[in-house]
Symmetry: D3
Subunit: 299 residues, 6 copies
Amino acid sequence: MIVKVKEPLPDEWPLLRRGQTLFTYFHLAADEELTKALLETGITAIASETVRGRKGDLPCLAPMSEIAGRMSIQSGAKFLERPQGGRGVLLGGVPGVPPARVVILGGGVVGKNAAQIAAGFRADVVVLDVDADRLRYLEDVMPANVNTLFSDRHTIRQQLRLADLLIGAVLIEGARAPRLVLREDLSLMNPGAVIVDVAIDQGGCAETARPTTHSNPTYCVDGVVHYCVANMPGAVGRTSSYALCNAAAPYVRRLADRGVPAACSDDEGLAHAVSMVDGRLTSRTVAETFAMPFEPFRA
Amino acid sequence: MIVKVKEPLPDEWPLLRRGQTLFTYFHLAADEELTKALLETGITAIASETVRGRKGDLPCLAPMSEIAGRMSIQSGAKFLERPQGGRGVLLGGVPGVPPARVVILGGGVVGKNAAQIAAGFRADVVVLDVDADRLRYLEDVMPANVNTLFSDRHTIRQQLRLADLLIGAVLIEGARAPRLVLREDLSLMNPGAVIVDVAIDQGGCAETARPTTHSNPTYCVDGVVHYCVANMPGAVGRTSSYALCNAAAPYVRRLADRGVPAACSDDEGLAHAVSMVDGRLTSRTVAETFAMPFEPFRA
Amino acid sequence: MIVKVKEPLPDEWPLLRRGQTLFTYFHLAADEELTKALLETGITAIASETVRGRKGDLPCLAPMSEIAGRMSIQSGAKFLERPQGGRGVLLGGVPGVPPARVVILGGGVVGKNAAQIAAGFRADVVVLDVDADRLRYLEDVMPANVNTLFSDRHTIRQQLRLADLLIGAVLIEGARAPRLVLREDLSLMNPGAVIVDVAIDQGGCAETARPTTHSNPTYCVDGVVHYCVANMPGAVGRTSSYALCNAAAPYVRRLADRGVPAACSDDEGLAHAVSMVDGRLTSRTVAETFAMPFEPFRA
Amino acid sequence: MIVKVKEPLPDEWPLLRRGQTLFTYFHLAADEELTKALLETGITAIASETVRGRKGDLPCLAPMSEIAGRMSIQSGAKFLERPQGGRGVLLGGVPGVPPARVVILGGGVVGKNAAQIAAGFRADVVVLDVDADRLRYLEDVMPANVNTLFSDRHTIRQQLRLADLLIGAVLIEGARAPRLVLREDLSLMNPGAVIVDVAIDQGGCAETARPTTHSNPTYCVDGVVHYCVANMPGAVGRTSSYALCNAAAPYVRRLADRGVPAACSDDEGLAHAVSMVDGRLTSRTVAETFAMPFEPFRA
Amino acid sequence: MIVKVKEPLPDEWPLLRRGQTLFTYFHLAADEELTKALLETGITAIASETVRGRKGDLPCLAPMSEIAGRMSIQSGAKFLERPQGGRGVLLGGVPGVPPARVVILGGGVVGKNAAQIAAGFRADVVVLDVDADRLRYLEDVMPANVNTLFSDRHTIRQQLRLADLLIGAVLIEGARAPRLVLREDLSLMNPGAVIVDVAIDQGGCAETARPTTHSNPTYCVDGVVHYCVANMPGAVGRTSSYALCNAAAPYVRRLADRGVPAACSDDEGLAHAVSMVDGRLTSRTVAETFAMPFEPFRA
Amino acid sequence: MIVKVKEPLPDEWPLLRRGQTLFTYFHLAADEELTKALLETGITAIASETVRGRKGDLPCLAPMSEIAGRMSIQSGAKFLERPQGGRGVLLGGVPGVPPARVVILGGGVVGKNAAQIAAGFRADVVVLDVDADRLRYLEDVMPANVNTLFSDRHTIRQQLRLADLLIGAVLIEGARAPRLVLREDLSLMNPGAVIVDVAIDQGGCAETARPTTHSNPTYCVDGVVHYCVANMPGAVGRTSSYALCNAAAPYVRRLADRGVPAACSDDEGLAHAVSMVDGRLTSRTVAETFAMPFEPFRA
């Protein structure tokens, strides 16, 4: 069994062979060439990004969301500095000077972690979401400078007028992120305000979001700085690696101890992630995407 | 009366004339040409950076220290990212992964503000100082993830071994900052650790610190990233301007209402800042620096 | 020695006689008839409201300020209810609905206590003051939903636009409270907003404030509800009595143990409060107010 | 589709017609006349107060409970003032004087919100409930001045002796609130103590509770002030309206987008609330109450 | 029906008779003699320690875990004192001196309660667990001086090097506690460090743990103090009794009101705890342990 | 210069000689033999326990008070266990069971530290003091489960009735601790309640207090457990040593750098602690105690 973080590179393909089990992020549905090459090797492929937990969550993805949520604030704070193009405000203000307003679209894992750090910065934080129970929980556990708002288009636009920093944190599993901030909305924002769109890997919450890189992380549209780095957690590799290992470890251990079929037999969520077995495609989603034949995996 | 933030530029010198009072940061002792030019204009000059409060504090400088202290953490967090040269750790970690260690040398205004923000980031924070009463106060008002340590060379070196982020926050009024981190100490630190030396305007707490700019903020020595931007608060000009105005306003109002002599007559700390009166030098420090004659100001 | 809370009523005057010491709130300067009547009785009168502490504070008045500050929020919350004339908002909102904005003019004893309770209500609280050190201390010890602003006319007017509840908490010892909210400013406020003017006993912070009573506590000007009950702490007599006793007890004990002259001999602040001795006026302020002769008290 | 807050008034009945869907609070089981009149109009009626969430909760009622819980403390604080009939104590006391004791019967939505605000007032708060897991959660998220007690008759009576303010917050869905405080128990309480019975809409937790109005909110029994205003949230209409809209919006949107049958087909909790369809009664409860025929709604 | 805390003593056996129901901790599987004697009496026995709650928890055992978790820290603090054999450190340190490190193996009920108290002591606390969701919840509700780590052998050994106090808090229901600290690991620990093994009733998390008593609570192995008192909660009998009563009360009331069969008919978790009925064994576990015949209980 | 913690033992006396400076705790006034022996050696003796800070505090004693205050709670918690003789209550209770009441006499350094730890234990804490400003500060920085009460005999007796744990924390510098708890008062307390008298080194706050040792720390009077260990900090020697070094270091460094006279010339508080110079007694207190001649030290 081989455990990796990212999908195998073309150089590595020839090294793979039947009998091996590969546990890593594959994102097969986005790469037909990779899918075909791997099928030919005959390996058993378990796509960690699709493993489901007992509550329907994605345990191998959650830590990346936590990291991205927390990082979004440190990037936002930095790019609000004037030499970085921002409007020159300090998130927490100082005694006698008001703090900045941080508006977080989405109160899930990304949003909660962003709100915690923004609150720790002493900013004035609002989290928007449509799930009332989630808002209640956030009010139970967040510091007093985090307020929650029920999200609708009217409220979003109202908050854009006040926002110094906007965090796009609405991710819908297996779907494009909803377009909550339109191009026309940017004119409501203060010049030099910053958008950090954590949902960029799924297309972004802002219509004007397009993926950037750590080496060239921002661009400006209508006076608003956009930070849309894909794979944000890559920048804190040390933290991310530990977090990933923690998430993967229980699965890896069970697979190693018991073999793929036994390990999957009482864990539907793991079985769901088995994408190839001995060179046969077992993922319905991948099969449908590339119109390929498939055979459901039976643990 | 003219109120500014920074010293007058050469272009502005011809516009000044006897009878005017100028209240701004002058830093005359660092600029003989400026001093002479201003003496010739015949203005009355009040150097805001030298106004003293009733407790011996510097009320027009304190907000800049607060801002620099808070900014030091957002810069530190950013430059700990690997693409910025850092060791790739997230200050607060995530559940299951330990937070980074932030070591703050000095528990004064800069250090307290740095500690607050670092704690808000969920880092593991230690503040070192030699003033036991200050450490007690910090423990009374800081979050539980801030610990305090009595500072001595042994403890500093011990903490360098653990530090992911080191904040140099020891400033001694009117003197060079003490050299608390020697070049040889850098080898104790983790590769990719970051030093943010807020004391850089006074020479820095680290032997290896030299001033940098917002456009080129960091350099690396022995594997340790140094962020030593002079005038950090300039990057958050909106916040800094409000903070400065707040600090200056009470003085400006009193000077405007009552004139320089009356305003200074019952405020020694303000009188102390009167550096020139009608073209005569009244600051002993400046006079001694440039071996010029002076006449003490009598309110 | 007789210890009371309020000044003696006319019915009680005949009962007083030379040799007695009366320790109570007198407010002599506001009542010439009382002053003359008491001088005739020959008592020694110590006006507790004028006793000074070692830091220049007024230890027998401070607890009343604490109580009034805390009560101001419960009254404000109540009169924001629509049946009471208010705009029908709940201070803390609920999850998904934003909290109300509470603006507190003054960060002294009254303001700090008001801010604590308003923050506990989960409101969005700002405290305005001109004392930067006080604002710093408040940020150290207040919950995260309290922000501080440097107070000037511009900022006050800006905050009036946002305020649901305004607390007038600026008291200057021995002087009329400054008029910080003018009649014309009321038009900036939301209809149904509430002003609680704790400074009413000294004339009020709002131009439109005039004293009201617990039985008829509010009136409306330009759509803004005014709550200006004089002697607010009277409504929580149980709490107030204990608080007053606590404040008075050390003085009463010392006076009882050692007699007036000895007790005052090493406590200038207490000596200052001795207003009559054996039928002679010893308070300069009272003497000047009524153009009466006086004899300084020598402990 | 028509969306309202309260049931249609008789004047509005003639305006309703077949084909319309009305989404509002109906409380049909309490009003036979209304039920019959509406059946004749032929409308489809969805009783928002009976919509069930996925966890068996009542999402359109919960925000009203939150508001009532929070308001109960501000009313309690106010009526503890002596001019309002109370015993003259300030909930939080002041330094040196003990806080008041607030006893909250029930740790559900109402009780939790009451406890949060009472704790923010710095009172000494106890919450009684019989659900051990709920008590554990409350201890996890409440401030340190909230204690929890397992509720039984002995403990309730013990706490009545200590209580300055008692909040009745035990509501059992679809049933009369249990009578936890008997008339004879009032004699245990301090004279001037206050009972705020939030459960009054369901008959009240106190035997002596009877509904009052915002214009005449309290009465006194055996020396204990009773505040039993029905529909407390009506007094903060601005906050309540937003809260209700937030709760109703997701249902309204789904009904509008998809029509009643489709919207209900995958949401049993919504289907459950459909009380009439095209003039036929579909609510078993209402049918049984008035002995009328009914036809279950099939989405 | 008889309700007790502990199993009946031999002296009490003759007093029991058919028709009685006994609700208490029995631990029958550990005592064949007791089992046989009770069968002969003909009683109905409900073993409270095996009652299951709706979430699969053990509601009559949970309060004992809470108490043991909290007590573990006060015992650890005490035995870290040098006269008790410990290394002479104060858990929270003092300003200027670092706090002690408390390492808690397991983040369940015991671990959470231990962490809360250790954090309140101002120690530097880490909780290790393999359940990522549990670690997330702990970070939501614990003070900032509690960090969480994903538990594996490498991390445990690393933390042993740093630990002043180790709490063994890993309990697996109905199984031996896992051996997480081996004898060889003790050499990693500081001399005078303390292990409090709360899991001792299930064999202990440390290989070197063996049960001790309140009268002779500790022993030392390889320089490490072991505190392994079985039945820790017995030492705070007043608190434990109330806690037990709270947990048992709802069951006892239902049994008393409705009789055993009816009370069990809609509560599988209670039915599960019925170990004997009228002298017949109904517990499969006990039957298997002693190879005795049994008859499942049907409510 | 020799720096120690405790006074030199007789064995060490012959090793001392003129020219040496000894900086340690001496407590000379309690030991005439030691005083005479040291005078003969000709050393210069600086009694660290009498060094005064700029605010009149005792900087070398304060850390010991902090340690003793914190330890008092862990000892109290332990001896409340029934096997230790206590009444069997857990300080923090558990959810559903009320916490214990901790009554702290005195809100100085000892009391504040005791209150912090007791609050961290989740106990119900009250601090009694007569200094209103101190009580206000404590309310600003203590957790919400700490209340403050103005101390008088009536309130003390009232609290004794409620107390599970009483901490005697009233120390008056250079004087016997006041007797606040009389023998007759013990009958008010619950049987098995615990008194930890931190003031024992100065005679104790309780009439029934007499010094005990770490090996035999408690005794019982009238059913109340007394823990009166003299030199409590000795039990956490590791923490105490660091704390003492921190406190002494600045003085030691200054003495070493500049010599005794120069170091004392601008530090009256240090000069005050110079008890012998070159064999001449310079401490007035010691001289008066033993009727010996002395010569004031002039820096």
